[in-house]
């Protein structure tokens, strides 16, 4: 078989062929450009953020960053040396060094200390809103997939869900402000944030739950009903248990979304700064629900827009972004991996 012999099926080297391979390469490049951009953003924040979060000595993690509240950073020159101190440390320093009383220091708000209250606030917001969203969403999905008969009402509900999914998050913020904060007079509070966020992820949870419920074979329902089970018995014993893993994993994606949103909590739940932790200084149980909290995404917004960018502020900016991104990314990865596993496992 020498290369010079030509046979009937041999492809003629033609311009069309070159075009084709060029076009296919274009598609490939588009794909990889996306991945590279994503990796670029992720990498940049991880690399720069890890300088704040990790330390070179044991315990290798910047514990203070995770356990302290944010405070102002003071940068000043003392005896020819450049010193950086957090607010409390600086005040203590001034009392111990009377000669430094009138020392001039540049101050950068929020640039020292840590982000503990923000983490706590975000966790609370996510937990509460997901509980509300799961209750409402799973119930709605059960109704839609198990009970509802085709008709006007169901069409309307589906339309509402579809449209709710398209409402911009800032509009949810306005809605939360109008309904919860002002009309119901809950003020800027956890409760207002929970409901605002819960309503925002509701379409995600409903769609995910319905998909999981639909994946449970019809035979399970018919078999159960034919044995004289009531509808509710059938759903509770023979449908929900099999749909639940799917519902939960898909809903984790909703958690990522709840945790990641800033706009809806700006006017409903988030404080720029709050000295007390959510469990401090409560006089009654209801106080817990009616307090505002600090939240990671809002903190990132504040530190990246309200304070200048320089070597002193960069640490807290990148550190916060890193922690936040890693949390959300972990949640999302869990969801994606678990869903793919689940898809393979359940084949009825």
């Amino acid at each position: 078989m020498s290369p010079s012999t030509r046979h009937e099926f041999q492809s003629p080297p033609s311009a069309a062929r070159r075009w084709e391979s060029a076009a296919l390469w274009l598609f490939r490049i588009a794909t990889y450009v996306i991945l590279i951009c994503g990796a670029g953003v992720f990498g940049n924040i991880v690399v720069k953020g890890s300088k704040t979060v990790f330390t070179s000595t044991a315990p290798f993690i910047n514990v203070a960053f995770f356990t302290e509240a944010p405070e102002s950073l003071y940068v000043f020159e003392y005896q020819g040396q450049k010193r950086e101190m957090g607010d409390r440390e600086f005040r203590a320093f001034k009392t111990t060094h009377p000669e430094a009383k009138d020392i001039k220091a540049e101050s950068y708000v929020y640039s020292a200390g840590g982000i503990f209250p923000c983490i706590v606030g975000t966790v609370l917001l996510v937990l509460g809103s997901m509980m509300i969203a799961l209750t409402l969403g799973v119930s709605a999905a059960v109704y839609l997939s198990e009970y509802a008969k085709q008709g006007r009402a169901v069409t309307l509900i589906r339309l509402a869900i579809l449209n709710l999914a398209g409402v911009p998050s800032i509009v949810f913020g306005l809605f939360g402000l109008g309904l919860f904060v002002i009309y119901l007079d809950w003020n800027v509070s956890l409760l207002a944030g929970w409901f605002t966020l819960a309503f925002m992820v509701l379409p995600v949870v409903i769609t995910a739950s319905e998909e999981s419920l639909k994946a449970v074979p019809k035979g399970f329902r018919e078999g159960s009903l034919a044995l004289g089970a009531t509808k509710w018995q059938t759903i509770r014993k023979n449908v929900l248990p099999y749909a639940l893993p799917g519902i939960l994993t898909s809903s984790i994606l909703g958690i990522a979304r709840v945790a990641g949103e800033t706009a809806p909590i700006m006017f409903t739940a988030a404080y720029v700064v709050r000295d007390k932790l959510p469990w401090e200084g409560l006089t009654s149980v209801s106080d817990f629900f009616f307090q505002g909290v600090m939240a990671l995404p809002y903190h990132i917004y504040v530190v990246s827009s309200k304070i200048p960018q320089n070597e002193y502020t960069e640490r807290v900016q990148y550190g916060t972004a890193f922690v936040f991104l890693v949390i959300v990314a972990l949640i999302a990865t869990c969801s994606i991996v678990m869903r793919n596993k689940l898809r393979n496992r359940y084949k009825w």
Binding site: G219, R221, E222, G223, S224, L227, G228, N238, Y242, W348
Partner: protein, 275 residues
Amino acid sequence: MDIKSPFTTPASGRSIPVTPAPVGPTLIDIDHVDFFYGASQALHDINLKIEEKKVTAFIGPSGCGKSTLLRCLNRMNDLIDGTRVANGQIKIRGIDIYDRSVDVIELRKRVGMVFQKSNPFPKSIYENITYGLRLQGRSSKSDLDAVVEKSLRGAALWDEVKDRLHTSGLGLSGGQQQRLCIARAIAVEPEVILMDEPCSALDPIATVKVEELIQELRTKFTIVIVTHNMQQAARCSDKTAFFYMGKLIEFADTRAIFMNPANAQTEAYVSGRFG
């Protein structure tokens, strides 16, 4: 004549006068029933009396309404939107099962069902059988154990699975799964068992086992079986109803249907000329 009927003797095909089987007491009385899926009528004026402790087979080509009628008998059609029995009544022991006072749950406890595609729940064999009993609030272990054994024996499955009662029902073979479904159905002690093409997804050997099982069950239960397999109807049923285009064409003793059909369409179908 080359009708492949088990009742055909080589000497004379259809000339043997068929003696009618003795008529038993009527259990289910289907009385002038019209049935609709939305606007389209699926059943036209069906009149049928199903006798107690007999096997009644519904046959006919696909889409003829035989499965629809079967699912009317325990109101499984209620689950489908837009279905209704427009005219007529279906009476079991004289009670109209579509009456408002009837509790469909009670009805289904009495009229069990086995489906075309075997549908064991993804639970253990034991839990599959006891599912219906637990719904009724029976939870005593010895009671349940007894029922499980009795039902599995009744479904001719006991010897095969007695050592692995607590493994998943999904681990059984297709035929075993279907017999498990039958065991599950008889565990709640229904009066009637509806079977919707129970063997259509099974291989011939498994089919034979299920058919043998049906022969045993006929002593205790009234069985209505839908099948597209005419040999099956001929082998295991006492009475056969032939449906075509939503109408009951002929209903008679199985022997009569296969050997001496009164209707030309029935004859064409049972002789394999269409369907």
